[in-house]
């Protein structure tokens, strides 16, 4: 899997694990516990339903979609990605952008989740470095099929609805920062409305 795929499916994975399909996750948990529960829950679910999902990728996608959207701080991600291009936009346009971006991610990367065989492939490391009351970086290591371990960090922020992730950093490459450059370039060239339209119609590249 490449970086973008990893970002996609792990971001989704983080959230999809909050599903009721495996053990329930405590939504009010602190970041470290939250990520651990989510990851265990997710991989157990995939193990149980792998055959079904392989036959029916849309089923997997629907499950992911249903539980993914309410649990990610997608608007914060979108605002960070849009940066100055997002200022002065009506709230609905930012919402639409966030929604379309998420739909693309789910549609494109859900299947990548099937590559993981076991919850033991994910190791959640103890908290380290600068974490605050409002923002926490949860570090994990994902074991790939060749035995190597890829560092994947989730950046969570405390909201009124509990902790939510708004960025994923895979091997040092931030999803938000990278999309920000790419979308910034496109919006400068074609304008926000056109970019949004392309994203909604599914014809835009995410990278």
């Amino acid at each position: 899997m490449n970086i973008v795929q990893k970002v996609g499916c792990l971001a989704i994975g983080l959230m999809a694990g909050l599903s009721a399909y495996a053990q329930p996750v405590d939504f009010t948990a602190e970041p470290l516990e939250l990520v651990t529960q989510v990851s265990n829950s997710l991989f157990d679910d995939i193990n149980q339903n792998r055959a079904i999902y392989q036959q029916n990728p849309t089923g997997l996608e629907n499950v992911v979609r249903e539980i993914f959207i309410p649990l990610l701080d997608k608007n914060r991600s979108a605002r960070l990605i849009l940066g100055r291009h997002g200022r002065g936009l009506e709230g609905e346009k930012v919402d639409a952008f966030a929604e379309a971006l998420l739909n693309q991610l789910v549609g494109r990367y859900s299947e990548g989740l099937l590559e993981f065989d076991s919850r033991d492939q994910v190791e959640v490391l103890p908290l380290a470095g600068k974490n605050t009351e409002r923002q926490t970086r949860v570090r994990t290591r994902i074991e790939l099929s060749n035995g190597e371990k890829a560092p994947v960090d989730y950046i969570l922020r405390k909201t009124d609805d509990g902790w939510k992730a708004f960025d994923v950093i895979i091997e040092g490459i931030s999803y938000v920062a990278t999309y920000r450059t790419q979308f910034g370039e496109e919006i400068t060239r074609d304008g926000f409305d056109q970019v949004l339209e392309r994203l909604q119609s599914g014809s835009i590249a995410l990278e």
Binding site: I169, S174, R180
Partner: protein, 249 residues
């Protein structure tokens, strides 16, 4: 996108590189919106287009064919061999950075894989849980204090910085793959290394082709990824507040 391109070097390559760097120093371009980390964007974009053309016409098709005909297990073994041959670069640089504990570990990995691993064909070190460090001279220069360096897209060799490009010179004399070709006229490791490198990038082809600006994607990913390598994973987070508050340019 690791800086493993050094193996492509021949001695003449080093000379060409040195000449090119001195040339670049005098030709910073100035038009349009510039990223301060990329003063040579004009040159770099030209170089990027050249590399992509070369890749599409020659490198990628050959790598595709190699990947197609080679059984997976053999391909993994070949990758293990060239990775192990290049590992002295990491070992030397761990020492230069004063990371003595990691140095011992890396030396152990190299000895174990070179002996029980049958000249690196197998990777018993990973099975034993010995981590694989990743260091090179560019990282060492950064640890020594040369933190920021302009992005440099090297013809043939790919994304780099001025600092990392200069680091390729000592790397040439440390890397078993380049030593095999320069000292012993054995080019198999070099070819195997190039093919492995390219095969490992197949997954990125679609992303690159579909990107709004492929050059910026490569630059962005390279710079973030190098920062991460230099700091051994302890990179600062992006300045998210600044993402929201930035002024109109």
């Amino acid at each position: 996108m690791k800086n493993r391109s050094a193996k492509v070097f021949s001695r003449s390559g080093v000379t060409v590189l040195a000449g090119m760097i001195s040339l670049l120093a005098g030709c910073a371009t100035t038009s349009g919106e510039r990223d301060p980390s990329d003063p040579w964007e004009g040159f770099n974009r030209g170089s990027f287009e050249f590399n992509r053309g070369l890749d599409k016409a020659i490198v990628r098709p050959i790598a595709k064919a190699y990947h197609y005909v080679t059984p997976d297990l053999l391909e993994q073994g070949i990758e293990n061999i060239v990775t192990n041959l290049s590992y002295p670069v990491t070992i030397v640089n761990l020492l230069l950075q004063g990371k003595f504990e990691d140095f011992g570990e890396a030396l152990g990995r190299f000895v174990l894989n070179s002996t029980f691993g049958v000249a690196g064909l197998f990777d018993p070190a990973t099975i034993e849980g010995i981590p694989r460090h990743d260091e090179d001279f560019g990282q060492t220069f950064a640890v020594w204090g040369w933190k920021d360096s302009p992005f440099l897209m090297l013809p043939f060799l790919g994304p780099s910085t001025l600092r990392d490009g200069i680091g390729l010179v000592p790397e040439f004399y440390t890397d078993g793959v380049s030593i095999a070709s320069s000292e012993f006229d054995r080019y198999e490791p070099l070819v195997a290394d190039l093919l492995t490198l390219r095969v490992n990038l197949f997954d990125l082809d679609d992303d690159l082709n579909e990107a709004a600006d492929p050059y910026l994607l490569v630059r962005d990913a390279y710079m973030q990824s190098r920062e991460f390598d230099i700091e051994d994973g302890e990179t600062e987070l992006p300045d998210y507040d600044d993402f929201l508050d930035e002024e109109e340019e």
